[in-house]
């Protein structure tokens, strides 16, 4: 562990602060996505890719990743300071979420030297966009049952099958792919292997999927005799489940090592409080209604509890009974709160809750309605809330498997 001189850190944060103040473009003239799952147009994509590249060049992304792989080689506190500055100035999201938050830390944790050298820098610079191939049309929550086939053929694996909900699928250069190399194992998990797979090759096709918001955000990916290099295998053949589970720990925030920045600008309870202060009902401020006020306080308490939960995980004595409890439950708590909060926000807008993005009379350009509809991407993606509840029940509380 490198020691941090508080003066160096403060100077770094001040520089970062000045940089973001100078460089953040809040309104590029079109609506920016609130999360990496909402990138629906080329215009949005190119803007965000340039932005991430710029942040990386300035040294405010991957600051804590090793220098040898394109990182800044600084202690984690520095990246945290940069992320704080980014947030203070409401910088747009980091685009390459699956690379920065899942693939990158996974490679740092379990990848070979060759994989790290080949991929980490491109992840940070956004030159190489990554996507994830876990879910399949027939196997969403039941990930261990994945059926996409990978058959070894010389220096390659031949891939056949289909993956779905591929966020950034149209733009991705690489996919982290979970595929079945053996259909004959006693346990279905043991037949799975994990690949770093190229996307821009013959036999890989992406079809856009239209989301409940009407926008395009992800694709279904079809593999037809697609030949991927065997060097992309992570770990050993048949060892893919373990790698996939580790990936999910990074995805769900249960394990650290992410490159920094943020990939979603969730509206938080204080933003909704600001909204509530602007809204009226029956001629009075909506917050004069004690029932509304009570719910508003509930949300403020909940968001505060999540901040405090994060702080408490740093105090081993205060998490002794269930050391993994808060990390494993944080996705469930955070995404469900966000869904309920956005729904509450729509209700606060009263009759104008009927309007949607595109209607000039919509409150705040209709972002609350769109944020609510999009919030299901987080309560469903990465393991539904119901699967999360099973995980917490079984792995934290020790309840029998469902």
């Amino acid at each position: 562990m490198q020691t941090v001189d508080p003066k160096d850190l403060a100077a770094f944060e001040a520089d970062a602060d000045a940089w973001f103040k100078e460089n953040v473009v809040r309104d590029p003239g079109f609506m920016l996505p609130l999360t990496f799952m909402e990138v629906g147009t080329d215009q949005q994509f190119h803007f965000l890719r340039d932005w991430q590249n710029k942040v990386y060049d300035a040294g405010y992304l991957g600051a804590a990743w090793p220098k040898a792989y394109g990182g800044g080689g600084l202690p984690q506190d520095f990246q945290n300071a940069a992320t704080r500055a980014m947030r203070r100035h409401h910088g747009p999201i980091m685009l390459n979420a699956i690379g920065l938050n899942w693939t990158g830390p996974l490679l740092l944790d379990m990848g070979s030297e060759a994989h790290k050298m080949a991929h980490l820098k491109g992840i940070l610079s956004a030159e190489d966009i990554w996507c994830q191939g876990f879910s399949e049309p027939g196997n969403g929550s039941d990930l261990g049952n994945a059926q996409t086939r990978a058959v070894r053929d010389g220096d390659h694996y031949v891939i056949n099958g289909s993956k779905i909900w591929t966020t950034l699928g149209r733009y991705a250069k690489y996919m982290i792919l979970l595929a079945r190399t053996d259909t004959d194992t006693p346990k279905k998990y043991d037949g799975l292997s994990f690949f770093l797979a190229p996307m821009k090759i013959p036999g890989v096709e992406t079809n856009p999927i239209r989301k409940l918001t009407g926008e395009h955000g992800f694709t279904q990916t079809f593999f037809t005799d697609a030949r991927i290099p065997a060097t992309g295998l992570m770990g050993v053949e048949g060892g893919g489940w373990k790698v996939a589970m580790r990936t999910l720990e990074f995805e769900r925030g249960a394990r650290g090592g992410q490159a920094g920045g943020y990939v979603a600008v969730g509206s938080n309870a204080f933003d909704v409080l600001d909204l509530a202060k602007r809204m009226t009902r029956s001629g009075k401020p909506v917050l004069d209604d004690p029932a509304v006020a009570d719910q508003m306080v509930d949300f403020l308490m909940e968001i505060q509890a999540m901040n405090l939960n994060g702080q408490r995980t740093q105090v081993p004595n205060l998490i002794a009974d269930h050391p993994q409890g808060i990390p494993l439950a944080s996705k469930l708590m955070g995404t469900e709160m966000s869904r309920r909060l956005n729904e509450f926000a729509i209700r606060l807008t009263g009759a104008r809750g009927a309007y949607y993005v595109g209607e000039a009379a919509a409150v705040d350009q209709g972002i609350w309605a769109r944020a609510y509809l999009n919030s299901f991407s987080a309560t469903i993606g990465g393991g539904t809330s119901q699967i999360q509840a099973n995980i917490v029940g079984e792995h934290v509380l020790g309840l029998p498997k469902s």
Partner: protein, 374 residues
């Protein structure tokens, strides 16, 4: 974004949490809790003496007056672990009485009484009145001056916890039309001044206190200039410690339910494998973790102007929500057994209701928070 408090954890808190976890587990198995419910006194004097010897009664009393000179933050882990084991004894009451004197007592009162409390002499506070209003400064009991420098008291107090064994009772009264605090020695209470109340939490010993005709010295008034501060302090301290007891109880209640879900079989399957039971239990667990984070933020920030009040009210509101939900579901998930007196779920449910009713429930504190935050 407004500062709503943060987690901090002292070495003393860590040490006390460690010791209290073991001590309460050893001294308060549920068989003991149930035996003491039937006992008039309601707690084990030998265990109370041990708590005194451990220094728990003087944790938040200054060293000059026989205590350890720490703060309520260090009392929180002790009360939390007591609540976890449904442990009984006048620790919260005595700590609150000591807090009244630490914050608002005269030098002489501090010198005479605090060292005795630190040694383990029980005391309590009498704040609630028959209007059953949670606001700490709505007081109607009177302290009237008589000739010869004496005060004669008038009025009724209710929900006076542990008054049966308290050697001192710190009561809120109106003196010259303003709220004041008075330190009533046990010896000043006439026969029949205390009536034991029947309360929902059968582990508690709670009393109605008739102050009519009780006579004390004028020197028994706490510092008049500090009366308002003291009342607010007691209100928040009582809610902080109440929340601590509740969070400990919530944890135990969830553990108790989980044990049942892991051992009870129906339709050939352990019932914990059914998501209809599993998912609400996870919900209870998530609410518990959130409430516990609020608790330790409130403990850490208690003394901070503004932030302390926000954090304490959030902790009590969160604790009410978490404990009520966990104990309500605990009864339901035990099925027919849950409906019996023998099932421990009722012990937790009753204690949760007791705490919600004392010093303000979730909706009371959330209404206060709305004023503080909006």
């Amino acid at each position: 974004m407004q500062d709503l408090g943060r987690i901090g954890f002292s070495e003393d808190q860590a040490a006390l949490l460690d010791v209290a976890t073991d001590f309460c587990l050893q001294r308060s198995p549920v068989s003991t809790v149930r035996r003491l419910i039937e006992d008039e006194l309601g707690h084990d004097p030998a265990v109370w003496t041990e708590m005194g010897e451990l220094g728990w009664l003087g944790i938040a009393i200054p060293e000059d007056f026989g205590g350890s000179g720490l703060s309520l933050a260090e009392v929180v882990p002790v009360v939390e672990q007591m609540g976890r084991r449904l442990m009984i004894g006048p620790l919260i009451s005595t700590t609150l009485a000591a807090q009244a004197l630490v914050v608002g007592g005269t030098e002489a009162q501090k010198r005479n009484v605090l060292p005795r409390l630190a040694e383990g002499v029980a005391a309590t506070v009498a704040l609630a009145e028959p209007d059953f209003d949670w606001e700490p400064d709505t007081v109607s009991c009177q302290a009237l001056e008589t000739e010869g420098g004496q005060l004669v008291l008038r009025g009724q107090k209710v929900l006076v916890c542990d008054a049966g064994i308290a050697q001192w009772i710190v009561a809120s009264v109106l003196y010259r039309n303003a709220p004041a605090m008075v330190l009533i020695p046990r010896s000043a209470l006439p026969e029949g001044a205390l009536r034991r109340e029947t309360v929902i939490d059968e582990t508690r010993r709670s009393f109605a206190l008739n102050l009519d005709g009780v006579s004390v010295s004028k020197d028994d008034l706490l510092d008049l200039d500090l009366a308002a501060t003291t009342l607010t302090h007691l209100h928040l301290a009582a809610n902080l410690l109440g929340a601590a007891d509740m969070i400990g109880g919530t944890q135990a209640c969830i553990d108790y339910t989980v044990d049942y879900l892991k051992t009870r079989t129906q339709f050939g399957k352990l019932i914990g494998s059914y998501q209809a039971l599993k998912h609400p239990t996870v919900d209870a667990y998530c609410r518990y973790e959130q409430a516990r984070s609020h608790l330790y933020a409130a403990a850490h920030c208690f003394g901070e102007q503004g932030v302390g009040e926000i954090a304490v009210r959030m902790a009590k509101a969160a604790a009410d929500g978490a404990y009520s939900f966990a104990s309500d579901r605990a009864i339901q998930f035990h099925g027919g057994f849950g409906f019996t007196y023998d099932c421990d779920a009722q012990l937790y449910r009753r204690r949760a209701i007791w705490h919600a009713a004392n010093y303000g429930d979730a909706s009371f504190h959330k209404a206060k928070l709305a004023k503080l935050l909006f």
